[in-house]
């Protein structure tokens, strides 16, 4: 039976199994999973089983429901998914031993989150905010799943910036007009290498006109980047890090 784990920052507030009865989520006490916080709508979303699949539906909430950093209306959840509601996170996990409702923190009433840390935005502000997040990569309050920003730091070589936040699904290193990491110099290749985001937090480095090395070893196929990896390609060295 799948289990929902409600977290605020690093602390677990509640755990709850999803059986045949749907789990309604919201600020109103009538909900099965109550999140008492102004950023959460009174009837915010629900999680339910449908033909063996775990579904999440957002009830058109003010501040939205995010799965792995992406805003959703209705999606199928899978174990490991991180559902963002306001500043709270609900992690989906598979559970065999848990039945019904248990409470975290030794069964005591979960600590109420501090209100001053909450982001409340109206529709227009939210839209502007999301656009700004996309543009600047300042992925902050709204989506807890994306608090850490993948970043390329230039260690060596000639590029147009010293650091790059990887906001897009595709990042190209080269001289090409579509390159994010722009290489300088006559002989720099148009597209030396590419970094793609396949799942929301997994970044792959792949060969293009050149075969990049990761930590001194030329890659044989697209390779998952870890924080601290040094990428060397076409005369530049880039460190891949997750920034807070």
């Amino acid at each position: 039976m799948p289990k929902l784990v409600l977290k605020f920052e690093n602390s677990v507030l509640k755990e709850m199994a999803v059986g045949s009865k749907e789990v309604s989520i919201g600020r109103s006490p009538e909900n099965v999973l109550v999140i008492d916080n102004p950023a959460v709508s009174h009837y915010h979303a629900r999680v339910f089983n449908e033909e063996g699949r775990l579904m999440l539906e957002d009830f058109g909430s003010m501040n939205g429901t995010f799965v792995n950093g992406q805003r959703v209306k209705m999606v199928t959840l899978k174990p490991g998914d991180s559902v963002g509601i306001g500043k709270h996170t609900i992690v989906v996990s598979e559970s065999r031993d848990l039945d019904g409702f248990t409470s975290g923190n030794g069964g005591s009433k979960p600590a109420a989150p501090k209100i001053n840390e909450t982001v409340m935005l109206d529709t227009k502000e939210r839209r502007e905010f999301l656009q700004k997040v996309a543009a600047v990569g300042e992925s902050a309050q709204v989506s807890p799943a994306r608090l850490k920003i993948p970043t390329l730091v230039v260690r060596k070589g000639r590029t147009n910036q010293r650091e790059y936040s990887l906001n897009d699904k595709l990042t190209v290193v080269g001289k090409s007009s579509m390159a994010t990491v722009k290489l300088k110099g006559w002989f720099a290749p148009k597209a030396a290498a590419q970094i793609t985001r396949r799942d929301d937090q997994t970044y792959y480095i792949g060969a293009a006109d050149k075969v990049p090395s990761v930590n001194g070893v030329p890659i044989a196929h697209p390779t998952i980047l870890k924080s601290g990896d040094i990428i060397a390609v076409a005369g530049v060295e880039l460190e891949f890090v997750f920034r807070d």
Binding site: M74, L130, V133, A134, L170, S176, M178, G206
Partner: protein
């Protein structure tokens, strides 16, 4: 670089099935290529896949004429407008197939997969739902660009099943995501860089059930042109049993010599 794409496509009922429930469309004028594998009893699989590919083409074509055409669903962050348009087209295809499935009596279980690519300069938008696949051959290396939305593939991703077990599982045909099943569908969208010499393959599972990655890579690497490669892949899948409908689209960026001299030449030409 002029983005000239050479393409070839082939579809076959195979040796066992009576109907071909696969559909594909090529729209080189929009650099758009779409393939769908339908499912459902009677003729509903054929109808579903045809609806899916036609809806994707139609929506993209409409958006070409009218760039302010609304998007179906919420835009995804971190990808370009063309990629979001492709996702929008697929969500719309879901809506069309879903409505047809709801309205048509005896068409329960009607659905379809979809894979689509669209090129804009050096960028390729990749979108899919279901277990049809997109591969890229670059530098002799075959890479699957899509993750199957099938039960066994999910089990493998979660580490609950090995690739070998998945290959022999009786659950191979169980999809966890497809068009037409729910009122809304999550579309997987990614973007890829395209470089000269890249070969892209879109295919239904009738190909990948019969041929290994190595066999596919060999055909794509050996054949001189895209249509020949498409034909050869379908023939090989049929020889291997042809248990399902087989459909492939092969896309290729013609390899041109690009070296320091060519680049200097271009530079002189540009500065002249």
């Amino acid at each position: 670089m002029a983005t000239e794409i050479e393409f070839g496509a082939q579809s076959d009922t195979g040796c066992v099935r009576e109907n071909n429930e696969d559909s594909y469309r090529v729209a080189p004028e929009m650099s758009l290529f779409v393939l769908s594998d339908g499912m459902g009893g009677l003729e509903s699989g054929e109808v579903a896949s045809r609806m899916a590919v036609d809806t994707v083409l139609e929506h993209c074509r409409e958006a070409e004429a009218n760039p302010s055409l609304p998007f179906a669903g919420e835009n995804i962050q971190g990808i370009c407008g063309a990629s979001n348009r492709l996702a929008s087209a697929i969500r719309l295809a879901n809506e069309v197939v879903y409505r047809a499935a709801q309205q048509g009596a005896g068409q329960r279980g009607m659905g379809a997969t979809v894979v689509a690519v669209r090129f804009a300069d050096e960028r390729m938008s990749v979108a899919h739902v279901g277990d049809s696949r997109i591969y890229r051959l670059r530098g002799g290396e075959l890479e699957q660009l899509t993750q199957d939305h099938s039960f066994v593939a999910e089990q493998v991703r979660r580490g609950k099943m090995t690739a070998e077990e998945a290959g022999s599982s009786t659950m191979q045909n169980v999809l966890v995501r497809a068009l037409g099943i729910d009122a809304a569908v999550e579309v997987d969208v990614s973007e890829e860089l395209v470089i000269e010499g890249d070969t892209i393959l879109l295919c239904s599972d009738g190909l990948t059930r019969e041929l290994s990655d190595a066999q596919i890579a060999a055909v794509l690497g050996e054949c001189a042109n895209a249509q020949e490669a498409a034909g050869r892949l379908v023939d090989l899948a049929k020889q291997a049993g042809g248990g399902d409908n087989v459909t492939v689209i092969v896309l290729r960026h013609a390899a041109k010599p690009v070296g320091a001299f060519a680049r200097i030449g271009k530079w002189f030409k540009n500065s002249a």
